[in-house]
């Protein structure tokens, strides 16, 4: 008997992305310049609020599509292998790292709020100063 097809559940879908690293960034990610990753298409639900947190949070229940901010968080948790302080500062990438979405500076694409699409290529380049 064929098992029934599971019901369509958008939050369980994944996005396939190509990540490229250069200028030394690759050293933080298994020393590989090119990674193919699958990340959740929607940001997973946050952990349940602790007792001390206000229950009147305005966090929406509807799943939010994955954006570059979430990707950076996901990379830190899943594929970063070295010193997080060379990748992130606060909630974003540290100064001196350029983020390019499909060969365009992420500043032209909404920075961290850019909503990722299946097949997107995101490049993380550390600027060089040598000569």
């Amino acid at each position: 008997m064929t098992p029934p097809t599971p019901p369509e559940n958008t939050s369980s879908k994944t996005l396939n992305l190509k990540l490229e690293f250069g200028g030394g960034m690759e050293l933080l990610f298994s020393n590989k310049r090119s990674h193919r990753v699958s990340i959740p298409a929607h940001v997973p639900a946050p952990p349940p609020p602790t007792a001390s947190a206000s229950p009147a949070t305005d966090r929406p229940d509807t799943p939010r599509p994955s954006d570059v901010n979430y990707l950076i968080h996901w990379m830190k948790e899943n594929i970063l292998t070295e010193r997080v302080e060379l990748f992130m500062e606060g909630d974003t990438v540290r100064p001196g790292i350029l983020v390019m979405i499909n060969d365009v500076d992420w500043e032209l694409e909404g920075e961290g709020e850019y909503v990722l699409k299946d097949g997107d290529e995101v490049v993380f380049i550390s600027t060089l100063h040598g000569g």
Partner: protein
Amino acid sequence: MALHEYRRYGRQMVLDGIGLSGQLKLKKSSVLVVGAGGLGCPAIQYLAAAGVGTLGIVDHDVVELSNLQRQILHSDTTIGLPKAESAKAASERLQPMIKVVSHACSLNAANARAILSKYDIILDCTDNLPTRYLLSDTAVLVGKPLVSGAALKFDGQLCVYNLGNTGPCYRCIFPKPPKRDGEGTCEEVGVLGVVTGVIGTLQAMEAIKIITGLRDEQPSLLIFSALSSPSFRTMKLRSRRPDCPGCGGDPSTRDRFVNEQDYVSFCGGEAPNLEETGKV
């Protein structure tokens, strides 16, 4: 132009987009190359060969044996000489018809404006972050395009800053310097000579395109890696940032900014000795 100049430059004067008028523009132009190292040597070489009329060379270092693997204007016989002098002699040997001015000093907030203002185009062939910010701020101040190259290990980068009326400056793209812990210099962590060769030659190309009017003003960053395939990628960059402390706002305050800025401390202080800290 004299007959021997037609003979010397004929192979580029025959090109659509250069011609006699382009060659005369090159002859009348002046380019300042800051740094006569791995990037500066090939840039100087091809700018001189192409007939750029006046070349300035800034470098305060002297030639060392460890430079010769990539700094192809210097040689064993010029070890110990100032790089600016060694590069000047080599470029005059290659091209006796142009004027070459050596500035064997280090560029700082006190002298940058006076030096940069004498040239039409500035090439950033330096090896450190404070000088990159200083060059960008000063290029904005004197209104000159800045062709910036960088190289380390197997990687290189190329970008033209402050081009035209909307081109970003270095601070538009990198408002904050990184903390001093991620990267060393070529002298510390190494570089492949051909990487500086490719980027420095492309810096000369960008300068020649700007002088002859062949360069569009679309801001972009070229990224090169000798180990990747494809080796080259072109990234589209943002245009000028209206609130940029380097190029935005009131032009009258910019001079003060360059004079007061302490570039070394802005970029995290003196470079640590990576060998002592055990990172190399």
